[in-house]
Symmetry: C2
Subunit: 328 residues, 2 copies
Amino acid sequence: MASRRQIGEFELIARYFAPLARTFRGAGGLESDNAFLPATARHDTAVKTDTIVAGVHFLADETPERVAAKALRICLSDLAAGGAVPLAYQLSLALPKGWQERWVARFVRGLAADQRRYGIVLCGGDTVVTPGPLTVTITAFGRVPRGKGLGRSGARAGDELWVSGTIGDGALGLLVARGRLKGLGAREHKVLEDRYRLPRPRTALGGLLIGIATAAADVSDGLLADAGHIAAASRLEAHVAREQVPLSGATRRALALDPALWANVLGGGDDYELVIAVPPRKRAALLAAARRAGVPVTPVGRFARGGGVRLTVDGKRTKVPRAGYVHF
Amino acid sequence: MASRRQIGEFELIARYFAPLARTFRGAGGLESDNAFLPATARHDTAVKTDTIVAGVHFLADETPERVAAKALRICLSDLAAGGAVPLAYQLSLALPKGWQERWVARFVRGLAADQRRYGIVLCGGDTVVTPGPLTVTITAFGRVPRGKGLGRSGARAGDELWVSGTIGDGALGLLVARGRLKGLGAREHKVLEDRYRLPRPRTALGGLLIGIATAAADVSDGLLADAGHIAAASRLEAHVAREQVPLSGATRRALALDPALWANVLGGGDDYELVIAVPPRKRAALLAAARRAGVPVTPVGRFARGGGVRLTVDGKRTKVPRAGYVHF
């Protein structure tokens, strides 16, 4: 077999890992954020594993508390996308040589704070020392009503495409953190950078989406990429109207100064908002759930027959700026 | 707080991670190989996470198939120690820069073979690229009867201490692989090295221990260390009679040539046998289970009031050679 290095993560999963999961129904062909293991007569257990590596998925100088929060919260964001309520997690911590006990103490303090905040608890794991960079793997467990867990593949033509919160702050925050976005006020820089460094998973909304959404994903690869993942898994086309995409004040101002940043806003990752497919008749239920969760939601497009992602600006089709943040 | 680097893995867990798991009953204070999550009315789900790093937990030149087998099997060994029957697993694969698709294809072939061998199936995971060494984290799930999962803390004074298979081959196999054990025949070298490179988890026996064993662990840190972990968690003393420890022909010959290797045999890791606490009245049931599983078991000592590990040679107390393989 020819040796080729640069196939992407999705191709790697489809070609090599999905066949290993073929006989496990709750794995959904590895197309969704979560696996669902049958648990009680009334519930399934949603399961999600995420790995973050220092210098790759977070800045190498990040504080221990924020590394802990990021590792846990990106899993919580996936559980929310699956409609699951957080239960427990396993932690694998690969500490770099020369690790300091003080670092671990602060990392654990970060986990403890988020355990209280999100109602989740450590249930086991592993600790090793690595000659490589700090690497954190979390496997999180959540609870969903039996057979009702949300994946990427349930959307239907005609469903509306909604997003929670605001889009693009995470990607612009990464630029700020790297000193590559200037010209905004110090407070705006701080708001954006904070969105990048500290995800706010939509846990409160996730569990309320059962019975309302037909599919959901979290925005970790970028709005267009993640809407595209739902479209691909559901064999549909995702239509996104750029002018409807909800933006923070800081992101709006950054775009006014440099419209080229639209590529980052729509194509960059790390928003950890939810992108949700909702049948039109469930619109009122979604708005009620969002109110109850205290999470704003905005319709940004719809799903239609076809394939891929179609981006429009004021009704005019435009080029999809880039395929999503390639963190692989 | 003073910064001290070299506290051990068990101390790190006790001081920092166990408090995070305090409110989760099935975590057992992180003292056992597995966590147990309540699943159905009749079953719990045993959960175990293990991470292996190239050059630390396996030789950097190991074949992809064997890396896959080792990563999966060390988790299966823990499930067996918990009395659990394998169900499914999550895989986090951190590939080094410059990874080859061909490597992944062979790694996946290794997983597929073990899925068939052990009746387990992939249900999800994550794939990332790291500037560090290849790192594999597996979280495995198994099934145990509700409330019956085995941990390290259930042994009682008077229980016998049994082990499966033979002890020491893994540790001597590591010496062979590193070119540091010579003088045996080529075939014996191969047998030992193979035991190191390819664990044989006692999956067939594990599920049969429910209702027979009061506590169990797998021999991953070394017989004395792992018997000691059961003793510590059960607040007892483990007595081990060295002359009763079951040895392979190759290990017996290596010890005849160099008795100093007893330190490796009793203190080295990577046997992936089971060490089992069994009340004397359950002896016949254990032997029947072992016959059914096709796994030899041998009594090597007992648990008594006290603390720590007491090693005897022909009835005479002797010094415990070392505290177990420190892979941390």
